[in-house]
Amino acid sequence: MIAKKVSGKLKRLVAASVIPLAMMCAQTSHAAPLKIGYSDWPGFVAWQVAIEKGWFKEAGVAVDFEWFDYSASMDAYAAGKLDAVGMTNGDALVTGAGGAKSEMIMLTDYSNGNDMIIGKPGIKSLKDLKGKKVAVEVGLVEHLLLLDGLKKLGMKESDVTLVNAKTNEMPQVLSSGDVSAVGAWQPVAGQAMKGLPGSRPLFTSANEPGLIYDGFAVNPASLAAHRAEWQKFVKVWDRVVSYINDPKTQPDAVKIMSARVGLTPQAYLPFLKGTKLLSLAESKKAYVKADGFSSLYGSSKIADDFNVSNAVYKDHQNVDNYIDPSFVNGK
């Protein structure tokens, strides 16, 4: 009797569940909006201003911004679920080496102090790290930052002992006293220093502007099919940058951005300061082929060498294929 009742109910439940589930799993075809993944790096959160203000509508382009954790956003892009995603130029190479090619059509910023190597009290410079332990997440940008800093002093990676740890756990790693320095980006870096008074940044991305470029990498197929829309998308960026940089409108911009990540505007401002937002005119310079960090090409080449030598991936990537200068040059 009970069994009968239950099975009747079950049948109805099944019927009721199949339809919404089918709807949930249904993938929208790429007819309508451009699907873009973004996460909590200030240069990416900046787009929130354009979303709130309805500037994409004004520009006549339909976009659908999806909020992710940074690594989850790259996974979703690699799985072909997004038209574009915000990532660093180095991570674009890593994602591409795994099979999900992309083209960086615009830059949002370069890290200007937000990435740092932090020494514990008593460590005054990178030189003091000789023979000591340094915790970084191996293969990520802080590792590259450390190598770059050591190279500048004529030191090698073998002069320090690397300890592999998760970036999010660096505050605990630093205050444990087991290592002499850690590498982390904001907001984690700030918490690490707050948690161990007397610790200080030894080397930051402000010492090497252009080591880490951030931008939006687009799926080549989407780029070919929706070229006009992507052009409109890129044009909106200048409005965003001027709104954030103009002292009159900056408080409103910071309010919008901090709300997106759930912080107070005061707490968010320092993170914005460690990011050098690039207008399209400023990006143009980085899109000129050259060696070294002042060019996106040079910076990506260095990242590529780093990735191969650290076995992040096996074969060198052709950096030129990952960069499309035509958009910032307005062609």
Partner: protein, 321 residues
Amino acid sequence: MSKARWFSVRAGLSQRRRMILGVFSFLLPLLIWSVVSYVPFVWHPKVLITNPGDVDYLQVDMYVDKAVFADELKNMRTEGKAVPEGIPVNPVYLPAPDQVAKAFYTAFTTAPEQKDMPWLHESLWHSIKIIFWSFLLSSLIGVPLGIVCGAYVPISRLIEPFVEFFRYLPAPAFGALAVAILGIYDGPKIAIIVIGTLFQQILIIANTTRKIDFTLLEAAMTLGTTPFKLITKVVIPGVLPDLYRDQRILLGWAWTYLIVAELIGTSSGITWFITQQARYQHFDNVYAAIMMIGILGLGMDLLLARLGRKLFPWDQSQNKN
């Protein structure tokens, strides 16, 4: 009644005493937590700076090790400068009960800063929906399969070895595959919870089904039932109370996979709140959110237990709770 002994082996307790003990089981951990939080000499390894004095690197609201603070205090005294002031505190990772209680309340009363962001209760509701669909899907496959495995040895030999193997595979590792197949919204999240619960479910239900009294089946077969009727009329009614209890346990199991599942694809639900708050070290909010999950899970389980007593009044073991 009050003369009755508390401790006699396996003897039942009066309703009132059970109540008292139930309340105490919550009060004890809370008491320990309060002692650690409010009694300074128990732990409090850090000093929260209220006035940095003349120490150049100290700031208000900074957490410093006790030893460092003592050193600086001595230094400033010997140098005749302004001494730093501070109060002993626990590390930022262990907020006090009152802070968590306050965070619990404010989390619900604070409006989201942006119009497209969910309120906390909306995030919770989203998480509950994910659990509901996951558990329903898992049960639609797991319960029938488990019952059939429990009833028929050949089917059990065909299905169970692989299921035994698969239940050891870490569900979260299938995240990327789930995103590739099901997109970035709720699909992959539901898939991960289903992977996490389904395989355990098949085995547990199969074992429960195997426990049915064989004389019942013999009697039914002597009376000439068809195999199908044997399952629907004898096996299922026979194991229903136990099966219901298994499902309650498995539902709790599904909850534990929620946090892992919600990290996949777009940020959503209660996990988005927890990870975001943890990143900015608002641990009072983190623990408040964890408590919400606990309260929801336990609340649901108590409801189901009550319902179970209504549904299966003949089953003595349902009343053991």
